[in-house]
């Protein structure tokens, strides 16, 4: 997935004209509203549909009715969707800026492979069987691979190409291991095939509490990186000339992306495409300024994730489709549409 990045990521340093800034601000507000709507829909819609009053009742006047129990269950699922979606979108946006590659996503740096390999190890060799039990393994796997990629990529001298190559290499080796284990251990395959598509159905309060601190730290770190990453986007030399600290920015970005994506993957499994597509789509609206891309990606990614989750609950009633499948089924065509719409000169 290593491609010359087109010259579209030139960050603009000049402030946008007031009208455009107003439009972007309003757009951000509208996005928040959409997110709120989707969140409510995520609580109301499912195998058993709830009316808005029932949702209200369950959220604020919980008396333990059947509806209230359903709301409780869907609430933790919705909260996890919000958190994981935001984390995936944010880490994707940071990685795309860091590697100057509009196609970078957590998969490119091997984080998904790391989490998957760790989970399969947990199942086969440590006998872990509960979804909450996977979380620490998955997070540790993603973090270890993140560190390894950073180290192999040349740490301080890391360049976008080297990071991508290191990530691809480690993924390749780890997927070989993953397949070998699954072929020889049928029980592991039985569990892994559900884990690898990515799902929000594992959501419990304890899962959320496990990953919450990491998500909080990662989000703050990532949002604070907008300005230095804007400089990095213009190329190493220009960034240096502008006085940006390249090494520190790279190290912190890698850290933020790993923590965010690792925590999200640990809680829901590897969910495809959110981290790749949302920042990509956002950029076509906001332009290359990360100070806008990052907030937009943070708000719109959970819209995609929760929306996909709702769709997955509706289309296959009474059972449900995993959210990772739906995000790819929605995201794939949209992505191709975006690719086709762009003029050749920009590609």
């Amino acid at each position: 997935m290593l491609v010359d990045s087109p010259p579209e990521q030139r960050a603009e340093t000049a402030p946008a004209p007031p009208t455009r800034r107003a439009i972007r601000g309003l757009g951000l507000l509208a996005s928040v509203l959409v997110l709120a709507l989707v969140a409510v829909a995520s609580i109301a819609i499912g195998a058993k549909g709830l009316s808005l009053e029932q949702v209200w009742h369950g959220l604020f006047q919980d008396t333990g009715t059947y509806g209230d129990v359903v709301v409780d269950e869907r609430l933790s699922r919705t909260v996890l969707g919000l958190l994981a979606g935001a984390a995936l979108g944010l880490s994707g946006a940071v990685l795309q800026a860091l590697t100057r590659n509009p196609l970078a996503d957590p998969g490119l740096l091997g984080l998904n492979a790391g989490a998957s390999a760790a989970v399969v190890t947990a199942i086969t060799y440590f006998g872990v069987t509960s979804l909450t039990g996977y979380v620490w393994f998955a997070f540790a796997g993603a973090a270890a691979v993140g560190a390894l990629v950073w180290f192999l990529g040349g740490s301080r001298g890391a360049t976008p190409v080297r990071l991508a190559l290191a990530g691809t290499a480690i993924s390749a080796a780890l997927y070989g291991y993953l397949q070998a284990v699954m072929i020889t251990d049928q029980a592991a395959l039985g569990r892994m095939r559900f884990w690898t598509v990515g799902s929000l159905s594992s959501a419990t309060d304890s899962t959320i509490l496990q990953v919450l601190p990491f998500l909080a730290v990662g989000t703050l770190l990532a949002l604070g990186l907008a300005r230095p990453l804007n400089a990095v986007a213009m190329g190493d030399d220009t960034a240096k000339a502008l006085g940006a600290n390249l090494n520190r920015t790279r190290a912190l970005s890698m850290l933020a992306a790993t923590v965010l994506c690792g925590a999200a993957t640990a809680a829901c499994g590897p969910i495809a495409f959110v981290g790749l597509m949302v920042p990509h789509a956002v950029r076509s609206f906001t332009g290359p300024d990360l100070r806008w891309i990052l907030p937009y990606a943070t708000i719109l990614s959970p819209v995609l994730l929760l929306g996909a989750d709702v769709v997955g609950r509706v289309v296959a009633r009474p059972s449900e489709l995993q959210v990772g499948i739906i995000t790819a089924l929605i995201g794939g065509p949209v992505f191709i549409f975006l690719v086709r719409r762009r003029r050749t000169a920009q590609l």
């Binding site: 990529g153 080796a173 397949q179």
Partner: protein, 345 residues
């Protein structure tokens, strides 16, 4: 430095040969043959290499003849042909997309074939032949879809990669879904198929592969000169009289057919298409797509990997795809270290 030899006839015909490239091709063919002989000799009844060669040329005893010609030779031939097709297909993809990572895996052809095979395995519990057919159809449909979706007054290499990534994400989701709804026996069968395996391949798989290679390999090699020009950019090659769009379309179709047939026969064996052209290029040290060398490299690589997996894990314990996957990772890491030393990345 370059070592070109030119052969000329009085009638004005001339052939230009790169001595180093020719040497590399010959050595790789020898290596592939040697690995095949060793692989045929490997198994529950080991046969010494000398006997294998004797049997192959028709002078073996009856028992060995059965084991060699009926049981093990077809598997090795499938390995050679699949490796050759993947090596050539990979070289074509990399040349057309002008991207060293532009392999059929990235473009989603492997996933497309997998989807076809999974539909057969999971939904219809199909026979081996049906699975092969499903994979073939899946790969071809995916290849066609990617090409059509990427078409916009011509196909641009970068857009092709992007569309391929989008398509492959969709198909991967479908595959994930199929795995979750299958029962565990089918899931295991599907997983072995998805890893890429030569286990149990017989003459039925050899003939279609051989036919496809016999038609496509010469066709591709005839157009190789145009492809070589296209390395210099569309404008230069157009100016030199290459019909860029036509050559590109033709070679893409050939690459898709080669990859899809190979995948249908052995499953999406990872990384052969990616690494074979790169290794070939490093051996020949020659610019250009190095089609023939990539083809031989793919064949030698896959048979060697199959032998390694049998030696390391015992007969038919692990499919060859596991070994090529790990080898691919090691290769990329090696690339990372050496290229860094050379100061190129």
């Amino acid at each position: 430095m370059k070592s070109n030899r030119v052969l000329r006839t009085p009638g004005g015909l001339s052939l230009r040969l790169d001595v180093r490239a020719v040497t590399v091709v010959v050595l790789l063919l020898l290596a592939a043959f040697a690995a095949s002989v060793v692989l045929i000799g490997t198994g529950d009844f080991p046969i010494p290499a000398g006997d294998v060669v004797k049997t192959l040329f028709g002078n073996g005893d009856a028992g060995q003849e059965f084991i060699v010609n009926e049981l093990r030779l077809p598997r090795v031939l499938v390995g050679l042909l699949v490796g050759a097709s993947l090596g050539l297909g990979g070289a074509l993809f990399q040349a057309v997309t002008r991207n060293p990572l532009g392999s059929p895996d990235v473009l989603g052809l492997g996933q497309g074939a997998t989807a076809g095979a999974l539909v057969m395995i999971v939904l219809f519990s199909g026979s081996a032949a049906q699975v092969t057919l499903g994979a073939l159809v899946g790969g071809l449909v995916t290849g066609l879809a990617i090409y059509l979706l990427a078409w916009k007054q011509g196909v641009h290499g970068y857009r092709l990669v992007l569309v391929g990534i989008g398509v492959s994400a969709i198909v991967t989701a479908v595959n994930g879904y199929l795995l979750t709804v299958s029962d565990i026996v089918d899931a295991t069968r599907a997983l072995v198929w998805m890893t890429g395996s030569l286990n149990g391949r017989d003459w039925d798989q050899v003939w279609p592969l051989l036919a496809v290679c016999a038609v496509l390999v010469p066709l591709v090699l005839v157009n190789a000169r145009g492809l070589r020009m296209m390395e210099m950019g569309d404008d230069v090659s157009n100016a030199l009289g290459v019909r860029v769009e036509r050559v590109r379309a033709l070679l893409m179709v050939a690459a898709v057919l080669l990859t899809a047939t190979a995948t249908a026969a052995a499953g999406p064996v990872g990384f052969v298409a990616l690494t074979a052209p790169q290794l070939a290029r490093r051996l020949t040290r020659s610019p250009g797509p190095n089609l023939l060398a990539s083809l031989c490299m793919g064949a030698a690589l896959l048979v060697t990997a199959d032998w390694a997996s049998q030696r390391a894990f015992g007969a038919d314990q692990l499919p060859v795809g596991v070994v090529t996957g790990v080898l691919g990772g090691v290769y990329l890491l090696w690339l990372l270290v050496t290229e860094r030393r050379a100061g190129r990345i």
